[in-house]
């Protein structure tokens, strides 16, 4: 997948509103592979909705969203499954991890599906992010910041053309934010992929090529 385009899209709940001042909603927007984007938002402007639309979890919007020019409403279950495995990796704001599994198992659930990283590579990620000793701890017992780091590792365990990260560092300190940014950039560069990051204030200090105000 090379481009994600938005043609005059608007969440259905905003229909009829005339005061919308946004770089995304009701605009022509194109995200290209290999580039780094930041979407800055304030609460209630539809940031989570946008991410839900892009991963095919919700469809309550007007206008058209396209992957490589193809309307994503026309994608079938198989298309979405393939996309989520090979082209579009997502770090959800609500993480969508499994509290009853250990940190390590949470990553394995994904990697067993994609077989993308070796155990050594995953272990190295745990090490780098400072949660190596938490590997066998049930995820529900970790802090939200630690869970965010596990969610990032999981997101990196697959091939992707775009990495969609919804508020990835909301609960991280400056040091871990920096490390996470580096890991994301390194993997994206290795794969030649694009990154779309959303934020409601605190964000990673990265060389964004374009910043949108939602």
């Amino acid at each position: 997948m090379n481009t994600i385009t938005l043609h005059h899209t608007l969440p259905r709940v905003f229909r009829g509103r005339t005061d919308i001042q946004s770089d995304i909603w009701q605009q022509e927007v194109t995200f290209e592979r290999g580039h780094l984007y930041l979407i800055e938002a304030v609460s209630g402007t539809g940031k989570s909705s946008l991410c839900s639309y892009l991963v095919g979890y919700r469809g309550d919007y007007e206008g058209t969203m396209c992957f490589d020019g193809r309307n994503i409403r026309e994608l079938c279950t198989y298309d979405w499954t393939t996309l989520r495995q090979r082209s579009l990796s997502t770090m959800f704001q609500e993480l969508r991890v499994f509290p009853e599994l250990t940190a390590w198992e949470n990553v394995l659930v994904k990697n067993q599906l994609t077989r993308f990283k070796t155990e050594a590579e995953i272990a190295a990620y745990f090490e780098t992010l400072g949660i190596a000793e938490k590997r066998e701890t049930r995820l529900g017992h970790l802090s939200y910041g630690q869970q965010q780091r596990v969610a990032l590792i999981r997101a990196l365990c697959q091939p992707f053309d775009f990495l969609l990260a919804d508020e990835p560092v909301s609960h991280l300190d400056a040091e871990n934010t920096r490390i996470m940014g580096e890991l994301m950039m390194a993997e994206a560069q290795r794969q030649g992929a694009g990154i779309i990051i959303t934020s409601i204030g605190h964000h990673m200090d990265l060389p964004y090529e374009k910043v949108f105000k939602l």
Binding site: G59, T81, R84, E100, E105, V109
Partner: protein, 408 residues
């Protein structure tokens, strides 16, 4: 797969599954048992007894005080036979040929002898199912009614402290047979019992033997038959009973009753099977409701799995395997129970109908498997559909608009 199962087995209600398991087991067992029992018992009503097919009926003229006093003939005329042959329910008609000479049969066992005056009859060979064995010189094959043996064993032998005889033993004993005809001419033969019949109430010998002996011992006698053996197309046909009544005939065997009994057996087995199927269907609902509940309770986890790239097929699989496993276990256990219960009732059945041939279990096993495949297939489809509904799908409407089919 192990991790997925670890996630999805949460909220699994063991109670509900056990409930389903026993309900389904009961339903399946009732279905299979009614089917197998029907298969096993049917031959007792309709089966051949080895000598006579179940489509044969034996007809005689009614004997009453009036007919006896009037001295009316109880024999069938040529016209009677032709009329019977022309009926649409008739396949073929054969006449009984009676012996025109005296028959004295005697047995001797271990120094003791029993003897009796008796008679022979014959029917055309095509009415005898297992063809007559070729007789040795000076020997005559005989088919005895099974009731004679029972009469001896349970009536005579019991009271006289004589040994009871099995069919096998009787077949090995040779009988001395003395035939005495016109002018005191005698023929001495060995008689050998080659078969027993439940339906045929006479001492049967081959027709060729009968004709030869009648010729030899009573060349001047001739007689019309007193009994007819008729092969009918369908013994349950009402027209037969009506015809027989209209002509003042009598039926000698129970073929027609067996036809009615078979009908009732079918109805009863059908009702029982329907009850079994109903229980099975209800248990299927229990399972489906239980799985629905499970999917609902685990909806978040399932959705998360779908959103990180798992296909609905793969996410459905643990639940599908669970139901298939349960169904297979039910099938296996109901087969085991079936064979156990069957061995119990077969024993009783054999006591009542010693000649009953064992019915086949192939049909029951096939039906069991067919039910298993059908129910499992339904389970698979229903689970998959339920899980597919966890993510939104859209339908394109006219004018480029889309409508959400499911999900948000």
């Amino acid at each position: 797969m192990k991790l997925i199962w670890k996630l999805l087995r949460r909220h699994l209600s063991v109670g509900q599954l056990v409930g389903f398991f026993f309900a389904n087991l009961l339903g399946m067992l009732i279905v299979l048992l009614s089917l197998q029992f029907y298969e096993d018992i049917l031959p007792a009503f309709t089966g051949d007894d080895g000598v006579m097919k179940n489509t044969y009926i034996i007809v005689s003229k009614q004997i009453s005080a009036v007919t006896t006093m009037r001295g009316e003939a109880q024999t069938f005329t040529e016209a009677d036979i032709r009329d019977f042959e022309s009926q649409r329910f008739t396949k073929q008609v054969g006449a009984f040929t009676a012996s025109q000479y005296q028959v004295y049969g005697s047995l001797s066992m271990g120094g003791m002898g029993i003897g009796t005056n008796m008679f022979f009859e014959s029917v055309p060979d095509e009415f005898v199912d297992n063809k007559w064995p070729t007789a040795r010189e000076g020997e005559v094959p005989i088919i005895l009614p099974r009731s004679y043996l029972a009469l001896y064993n349970f009536g005579f032998a019991q009271s006289q402290s004589l040994p009871k005889l099995s069919e096998g033993v009787v077949s090995m004993i040779q009988m001395d047979v003395r035939l005495r005809g016109e002018g005191g001419r005698e023929v001495n033969l060995k008689g050998r019992v080659v078969a027993f019949s439940t339906r045929l109430n006479t001492v049967l010998v081959p027709l060729s033997f009968m004709q030869r002996m009648n010729q030899e011992l009573a060349p001047n006698a001739s007689s019309a038959p007193t009994r007819l053996i008729v092969e009918v197309k369908n013994p349950t046909d009402d027209a037969i009973a009506a015809y027989i009544q209209d002509h003042g005939y009598e039926l000698e065997n129970d073929t027609l009753d067996a036809g009615r009994a078979t009908y009732f057996l079918k109805v009863v087995a059908g009702i029982v099977m329907a009850v079994g199927l109903l229980i099975s269907a209800l248990s299927f609902y229990i399972l489906m409701l239980s799985i629905y509940l499970l999917v609902q309770k685990n909806a978040d986890k399932l959705q998360n799995l779908l959103l990180i790239g798992y296909s609905p097929a793969r996410v459905s699989r643990p639940y599908q395997l669970l139901t298939i496993g349960l169904n297979a276990l039910v099938l296996l256990l109901s087969f085991m129970l079936l064979f156990w219960i069957r061995s119990l009732y077969l024993e009783r059945l054999w006591e009542m109908f010693p000649t009953l041939s064992e019915g086949s279990v192939t049909m029951t096993i096939l039906i069991g498997f067919a039910l298993f495949v059908f129910v499992s297939f339904l389970n698979i489809v229903v689970i998959r559909r339920k899980i597919n509904r966890l993510t939104p799908r859209f339908k394109r409407l006219k004018g480029g608009l889309y409508r959400t089919i499911n999900g948000k």
